[in-house]
């Protein structure tokens, strides 16, 4: 049997054809089928190793199909394509033969990797049956430095190691400075203070510096853009376990899903030599967060046991380094006992602790969202950002363009930013999604205690205590917040996880070049642009997704894709002139080149909408994103029941895409109604707010799905009205606007509670939004 025979099961003919085509061209033997009922028949006839299947994980029939397949061919490897995967569902699927999943929209590179991995594992399985249990453990010389082994090393030999390292690489270490400790470059072992309490700033800045260039570019002809990845190989010595845990979190954030090339390059060229924290700062509560010891995340880890150190090996790199640079020996029984003893004593030196198990923090926070604590406690907050600037687990950033004096070339750089700063969530229109101190203060604590944990499965605060030392107002300690809130709280079980979708281009910050094919004025302030990627590739978007548009030197901004993916290779963006980027875009002409990243975000839930009656509601330029869905639905009109479209704007002069409005008005395929708030002379249509239009349509709440896009004020009233018409929350989808910089779930600007709008959004069901308090409906 051929190891690479694949069955593709996908109901969307476009996706099915392109997937099958691509797979055959990559050397797979492909059979395709349209739906579940036919699968089992195909199955009985032929033999497959791999099944790629588009699955709605919440559909019981589809899970049943999976089970049936598994029963017929127990060794089948199924890869599923899905949207919005939830952890429990994925686990359930894994029990019935699913080896991996990929999130829509499918990135072909990711898919290829997964399939390749699966083929390899099939080959391995076939081998393992015959020659099982090959062990890597060699039971030879105990002195061979291997991972997880511990040795003893004298202070002199440690010094020898550091001096040898200094000959070949940059060494960063902990030094005393003005009565405090800092990480800094060292030139000799004597400079090191390995028995420090805590450093002023964390070591994470060596992997994620305060400011760094992401891209260099030239403007004008050709718009040359080049990623910049700079790093210096170095050894950091003296890292405490809580900081190692923080680095592990950053690794998770920056190296998994949409790997950040700049962080990755630095991290891969950094050797970490940790040291156990035996004299903790009085503000540290690392044991409460489970970060006072660590078994992972270091290359070598030292424990000071008096005359000598115990050194534990964490990686091959660490083992090599030890073997190459110094002498060590097996620890004596006495030394092992001493290590236990010093660690025990260290534990007794912590002054503060959580009053509640750390697993309960997410629940405590969840239940304290509206607690007056936030308002009261943040009254003295200076919004000075000190707490987030010194925090090892903070990683938010801003992105800006800086031009050289000649205005012909420049750089796009990133710089630390963070949620405690006033403008962090403020967008061009002036709206600030976290405008008061209390909401910023609360957001930070939720990040530290809940959102990070749920998103990445790692603690968001490692209990180093730096923030509470740095805060002049004396309010920044998460421990204090968690303890105060815990007091008043009924405790429930820890919350569940959210999995984030994966994919993206190789260098996630480098835009792809696109040509503007045409520009058309819509109103005084709005234009529509038609674009094509210079690579000739299709953008590959789903209705409701967005891209970021770059004009090098001016910057970047998120813009929704305004056209249907079913209408050729070109795509359209409709843009209101609001600020720097948008006004620069308004001044370019056809033929110009701009940068595009994306598509990003989830888009409208096409599977859920299919086969239903649709009620589409657009307010103002909310029509820009919604138009992609309207066009898509018109292109596949036979897939839907009744389709109604409501459109409202302030004045007749602000109506956009007027020809299309006329077309819909006259079309039998769509029930179209529009209104303006303020009429002008000659206006004969409806006058009044958009909610009035809802009365004009017949709605069968069971069959109808609603998609709404408009300004925040509109949502509240539309939702109220839909409630009156008995539409269930799960049938209502809204697209939210938030400030966005990176589009790939890193920079933090678009966060709504624990959710990243650029990843899980911008389209949310009302059910989801009800649990997101910051969404304010």
């Amino acid at each position: 049997m051929n190891e690479s025979s694949v069955l593709v099961i996908e109901s969307d003919p476009i996706v099915r054809e392109s997937l099958s085509g691509w797979l055959s061209s990559t050397g797979f033997e492909v059979t395709s089928a349209e739906d579940g009922a036919r699968i089992v028949k195909v199955f009985a006839k032929s033999d497959f190793n791999i099944v790629i299947m588009d699955v709605r994980l919440h559909s019981e029939t589809q899970l049943a199909t999976l089970r049936e397949m598994k029963a017929i061919r127990p060794r089948i490897k199924t890869i599923i394509i899905t949207s919005h995967p939830q952890e429990e569902k994925v686990l359930e699927a894994k029990k019935i033969g699913v080896v991996d999943y990929i999130v829509k929209p499918v990135d072909m590179d990711d898919l290829q990797k997964i399939i390749q991995g699966t083929v390899e594992s099939i080959c391995r399985d076939n081998v393992n049956i015959t020659e099982d249990n090959t062990s890597f453990e060699t039971s030879g010389d105990d002195l061979v430095p291997g991972i997880k082994k511990s040795f003893a090393i004298s202070r002199e030999n440690l010094s020898l190691m550091v001096e040898n390292l200094l000959k070949e690489t940059e060494v960063i270490g902990v030094k005393a400075k003005q009565g405090k400790y800092v990480y800094d470059r060292i030139y000799g072992f004597y400079e090191l203070s390995l028995d420090y309490d805590v450093t002023v700033s964390p070591p994470t800045g060596y992997m994620f510096p305060a400011k760094e260039t992401l891209l260099k570019f030239k403007t004008g002809n050709g718009n040359h853009v080049e990623p910049v990845i700079e790093y210096t190989p170095r050894v950091i010595i003296g890292v405490h376990p809580y900081d190692i845990k923080a680095i592990e979190l950053l690794d998770e954030v920056f190296m998994n899903h949409n790997p950040d090339p700049n962080y990755t390059a630095r991290r891969e060229n950094t050797v970490i030599i940790g040291v156990d924290c035996l004299h903790p700062s009085p503000r540290s509560f690392a044991p409460s967060m489970g970060t006072n010891w660590t078994e992972t995340g270091f290359d070598l880890l030292l424990t000071d046991i008096g005359n000598s150190y115990i050194v534990k090996i964490g990686t091959e790199k660490g083992a090599e380094l030890l073997a190459k640079h110094t002498k060590y020996r097996l620890p004596t029984g006495d030394e092992i006992v001493r290590q236990k003893k010093v660690r025990g004593e260290a534990l007794n030196r912590y002054k503060i602790a959580l009053d509640t198990p750390k697993d309960r923090i997410p629940k405590i926070l969840e239940e304290s969202y509206d607690d007056p604590y936030w308002e009261n406690r943040s009254a003295t907050c200076l919004s000075c950002g000190s707490c987030i600037m010194v925090c090892p687990t903070c990683y938010c950033f801003d992105v800006k363009d800086e031009m050289a004096m000649n205005l012909k070339e420049g750089e796009r750089f990133r710089r630390w930013d963070g949620c405690m700063l006033v403008d962090f969530a403020k967008v061009a229109s002036g709206e600030n999604f976290r405008k008061d101190k209390a909401s910023r203060f609360r957001h930070r604590m939720f990040r530290k205690g809940k959102y990070i944990l749920e998103r990445y499965g790692k603690v968001g605060c490692v209990g180093c205590g730096r923030c509470s030392s740095a805060c002049l107002a004396g309010i920044a300690s998460p421990l204090e917040a968690f303890n105060s809130l815990a007091e008043n709280i009924r405790l429930k079980e820890a919350a569940t996880s959210v999995i984030q979708p994966a994919k993206q281009a190789r260098h996630i910050y480098t835009p792809e070049m696109a040509e503007i094919l045409s520009v058309r004025q819509l109103t005084e302030k709005e234009k529509v642009f038609e674009l094509k990627l210079k690579s000739g590739k299709k953008l590959g978007h789903y209705p409701g997704q967005f891209v970021t548009v770059s004009i090098m030197g001016t910057g970047e901004a998120p813009l929704s894709i305004s056209s249907s993916p079913l209408r050729g290779k070109n795509f359209q963006l409709a843009v209101r002139n609001m600020g720097d980027l948008t006004s620069a875009l308004h001044s370019v002409e056809a033929g110009a080149t701009v940068g595009i990243r994306g598509p990003f975000g989830n888009g409208f839930p096409l599977e859920t909408l299919e086969g239903r009656d649709l009620l589409l509601i657009a307010g103002g330029i909310g029509l820009f994103p919604l138009r992609s869905l309207i066009q898509y639905v018109m292109d596949r009109r036979y897939d839907y029941g009744k389709v109604s479209l409501l459109y409202g704007c302030r004045t007749p002069a602000e109506r956009v895409f007027t020809e299309e409005l006329d077309f819909w008005q006259n079309s039998k395929e769509i029930d179209f109604h529009e209104t303006v708030d303020m009429p002008c002379e000659g206006w004969t249509g409806n006058v009044g707010v958009i909610t009035n239009l809802i009365d004009k349509v017949d709605i069968d709440p069971k069959k109808t799905m609603v998609a709404v896009v408009g300004p925040p004020v509109m949502y509240k009233f539309v939702i109220e009205k839909l409630k009156k018409r008995d539409l269930p929350d799960a049938h209502v989808f809204l697209s939210l606007e938030r400030k966005m910089k990176c589009g790939v779930g890193k920079c933090g600007h678009c966060q709504i509670n624990g959710i990243y709008t650029c990843q899980e959004g911008p389209v949310f069901s009302l059910t989801q939004l009800r649990s997101l308090r910051e969404a304010v409906l």
Binding site: Q178, V200, C381, L382, M389, M405, N406, W416, D580
Partner: protein
């Protein structure tokens, strides 16, 4: 078309304009390629009243100056306040804390009666100011940043967060930890916390951030041992004070 740029001075030391020239030659040439300086008191002899961008320096301290700056506003498309005096009132405002006649007497002694003065005020107390080059003296790099932004038709990248952010980015040990005090928590960043990095503290020369928590800053100064009067003195130097006394 290169935009025409003019520099004007009001009551101040002109240290700001001098500092502006402190560019290295190559940068200066690049800069001059982009703009046309038609009026710059320190380097040009010819003057012109035909300009689009006006840099004003110094605070407004006489009735005559009010008229003059209004004229500039009418002519210029963009007005940029250069330095602490023009931007926030600056050191000149120290005199506002004593009665006017007293101020005249301190400055001019017996000749006081020949002078006419009004409380010193920043340019934006009289006219609309589009952009600010902050600091005392204003940094060349910020001046260049503002000019570049004007040429690119975008907002200059001047943060609305306090000096503490840049101070932490620089990895400094907070001066409060050493028993000193500092106005960093309410002062607008953009100087890379240069004073703290070079061993001093922040005295607020770049003016306040948009939403300063003055009460909390006062409490903190108090907590670190300053009396109410000393707190006010501390804020006075650059007239962050008028804001504070409100």
């Amino acid at each position: 078309m290169k935009p025409k740029v003019a520099f004007f001075d009001f009551t101040g030391c002109e240290g700001c304009q001098l500092d502006a020239l402190n560019l290295d030659a190559e940068d200066l040439i690049d800069l001059l390629n982009g703009i046309d300086i038609v009026n710059f008191r320190e380097v040009m002899t010819e003057r012109s009243d035909n300009y689009e961008i006006a840099f004003v320096e110094g605070s407004i301290t006489t009735e005559g100056e009010i008229e003059r700056i209004k004229k500039i506003r009418e002519q210029a498309k963009t007005v940029v306040a250069l330095g602490a005096c023009a931007g926030i009132g600056g050191v000149n405002c120290l005199k506002n804390h004593v009665p006017m006649e007293e101020a005249l007497r301190i400055v001019y002694g017996k000749d006081a009666k020949y002078y006419n003065t009004i409380p010193a005020r920043p340019a934006d107390a009289v006219i609309k100011v589009d952009h600010y080059v902050r600091g005392c003296p204003p940094s060349t790099s910020e001046l260049v940043k503002v000019i570049k932004a004007l040429l690119l038709n975008k907002k200059p990248d001047i943060p609305n967060y306090p000096v503490c952010v840049e101070c932490k980015m620089a990895g400094n040990i907070c001066v409060y930890e050493k028993g000193q005090t500092c106005l960093g928590p309410v002062t607008r960043a953009g100087c890379n916390a240069i004073c703290i990095t070079s061993g001093r503290y922040c005295w607020g020369c770049r003016g306040l951030v948009d939403e300063p928590n003055i009460q909390s800053q006062k409490d903190i100064l108090n907590k670190y041992g300053l009396t109410a009067e000393q707190v006010i003195e501390k804020f006075k130097i650059y007239d962050t004070c008028s804001e504070v006394l409100k």
